[in-house]
């Protein structure tokens, strides 16, 4: 059993690595066609790894990605597709910025309060989609897409009409009232690495324990793998849908906290933009496993941070976005191919075993 699991893990990691490699090759072709030198490009891109500043930046960028990937993955484990992480994050960002600035608490409590507000609002927004799915049978892909746009409009309107604060620094960027310093999440290592990084790692560990080491996690995975069978064993699939949607939304609420509590300390337009969407790519590359998510978040974080260097040698940094898209497509294609190959291998093995039993008889 043990060796089989190890074998499977090796196959999984190999196929993810292969996807990244394929993406690098295709992007090299794109670079060549558009008259850029791919070798120079990759040397610059990956050469930046020696720079501690770039590495710290990558960890900071990886932080929200880990959390949003966990939010997406917890849905995936249940065969639920929460595309609404972006919207849930946005609603939670504004709510937390407003609520956090309105109260006065000692430092650790204040941060905890902000976390709770963020998780609660995120869960409520995701709860709409969960409710629609459970009570009205609405496909969560469509409802979360629609709720993303509703969230975008709602937050833009509420921010514009009620929560804009007069700028004190004369900056043109409009923000909400600044959070008191007791709500600021401290940086560590020369004030460069956000402390939120460790919260994100903690989230991944808890995610692992919850999904693989508890009864609830077992029911979740069973319900996702075979809803009919698990219903027979007494698991209510509707309840599982609702709970995993709420959990996913609660995590989505935390995605923007690095930007809010650790960086800007107030809500502004475009804060943490796209970090909810990008979690989908991270979860797919990481195969919904905490360790995989951790590594792919670091990879995407690094690509995002180091891509700036490309502009110095006159290569558009958007090549990394193309790379992300190709990685997502390649990883799912390779997974499907590997799964079919694996199925056939097992079938073949079983057939051989049966044959030998028949011969012996």
């Amino acid at each position: 059993m043990k060796s089989q699991r190890l074998q499977r893990m090796a196959v999984t990691s190999a196929s993810s690595l292969l996807a990244v490699f394929v993406a690098l090759c295709i992007c090299a072709v794109v670079l060549l066609i558009t008259g850029k030198d791919p070798i120079e490009a990759y040397r610059t891109l990956f050469g930046a790894a020696g720079d501690t500043k770039v590495l710290q930046g990558s960890l900071n960028r990886a932080t929200p990605l880990m959390i949003s990937a966990a939010a997406v993955a917890i849905g995936f484990k249940m065969n639920l597709f929460n595309i609404g992480v972006e919207g849930q994050m946005r609603v939670a960002l504004l709510a937390t910025a407003v609520a956090g600035a309105a109260v006065d608490l000692p430092a650790p409590l204040h941060i905890l309060f902000c976390f709770i507000v963020a998780m609660a609002t995120g869960a409520i927004w995701a709860g709409f989609a969960g409710w629609l799915k459970v009570k009205r049978g609405v496909n969560e892909v469509i409802s979360t897409i629609m709720l993303n746009f509703v969230a975008l409009s709602l937050v833009a309107w509420a921010f514009d009409s009620f929560f804009r604060a007069e700028s004190t620094t004369g900056s043109v960027l409009v923000k909400t009232k600044e959070l008191p310093t007791s709500a600021w999440f401290p940086d560590i290592v020369d004030r460069r690495l956000s402390g939120m990084f460790f919260i994100a790692v903690l989230v991944l560990i808890l995610f692992y324990v919850l999904v693989w080491k508890t009864k609830f996690g077992f029911q979740l995975r069973a319900s996702g793998a075979n809803p009919g069978a698990s219903r027979v064993t007494g698991v209510n699939p509707k309840r599982m849908v609702m709970i995993s949607m709420l959990l996913s939304g609660a995590l989505a609420g935390l995605v923007g906290m690095r930007a809010l509590l650790g960086d800007v300390h107030a809500y502004q337009n475009n804060l943490a933009e796209q970090q909810g969407f990008n979690g989908i790519a991270v979860a797919l590359l990481g195969r919904n496993h905490p360790l995989g998510i951790f590594i792919s978040a670091l990879l995407f974080g690094y690509l995002g941070e180091a891509s700036g260097r490309l502009q110095l040698i006159d290569i558009p940094k958007e090549i990394t976005t193309i790379m992300t898209g190709i990685i997502v497509l390649a990883v799912v294609i390779i997974n499907e191919a590997v799964k079919r190959w694996d199925d056939r291998r097992i079938q073949h093995k079983a057939a051989l075993a049966l044959e030998s039993v028949a011969v012996a008889a």
Binding site: V30, V141, I145, F149, D160, E318, T321, G325, I326
Partner: protein
Amino acid sequence: MKFFKSLTTGQRTIALSLGFMLVLSIVRLFTNADDITSSGTISSTLRVATPILLAGLAGVWAERVGIVNIGIEGMMIIGTWFGGYGAWKWGTWAGIALAIVAGSLVGLLHALATVRFNVNHVVSGIAINILAAGTTEYLSIIFFKGQQGGGESQSPAGKGGYGEFDMPFLSGGRIGSWRSPDILGWIEKKNDLPLLPDLAGLLRGLVSDIYVPTIVAISLVPITAYVLWRTRFGLRVRSSGESPQAGESLGVPINRLRYQAMAISGGLAAFGGAYLSCVFTSTYRQGQTGGQGYIGLATTIFGNWTPFGVFRGSILFGFPSALKFRDEKNVPALLLVIAVILIALGIVSAMKNKQMLTMGLLIGAAISAATYFLVDEVPQEFVAATPYIVTILVLAGAQQQLRPPAYAGIAYRAGENH
């Protein structure tokens, strides 16, 4: 009700739009928001609705063949870029043609992933959206940056637009150098009458200030309906979305059909994108689609996966934006329109003895009427969010009436499901 059900889809569209015009006319008389039925509003509604319509038709083609297409937005983005590029190099029609070719290729990529490699349709769609955004941003820097009028996120202006044309006699178009009388315009100005000026406004809106691509796009509605429901090819496409096993057992080449339909879907979505960058404006701008691909997806659902339904949906979703473009102060009148429509729906549901629904609808009507008297303007964010909210409500409330293709989005491998 029986009478309404006996009508064909086309006749229903006409009946519903007449009813809608009547509501608008009543509201106009009460509120003096003359622009809500003016020809200007109607023609700008058509212009706003066209990209949504094309995206919605892209959704119909994809889902009817059994493939969920979340990538419509990405295909539209590709369309805006190639449309902008073609218009800048050779002119608008070339831009549209180039966009359609590029969009079809992206559609084929989606088909390759979902049909050949059996990838989850939603995942493939998301990947396509990311790819499209990245590719267009990358290409813009390579091709547009440093060009006259172009930049990192926008193309140089396209060559030549479409002369808007007006129909002679009906809306004062020119014949040679002679300006024909504007009959509908004359009726439209008599705005203390009920209904008549509104109808004149509607008709004049349809025949004045028209772009040729708009006509092409609208004519794709009956063409799609004809091809999908009146030809052998269409029957086969629909069989692939309803029950591919059954189709396959009769010798229908499911995989080939899926590639073909996805090429069409991608081409339509990209045409919608090109409309934005070559017709509605004359330059490609980054982020120009602004989620209209998703509104198109919404109209696919709202329109019950039928081309005429998509048309209705795109007009409905385009109307508030068009009204807002014309004059902000007309938008609140829409609240009254919503109230009247909700009351009408309430009466229908009361006749069906659905008390809870009737109550809900009447309360909704009261709220929107009250809001009209309380507020001076409707925030534009609400106008923007309307299509999405309406879609959620339709999905939540009218699920029984919706008939999605039974096999849309379900993994299927030809030759292995027997």
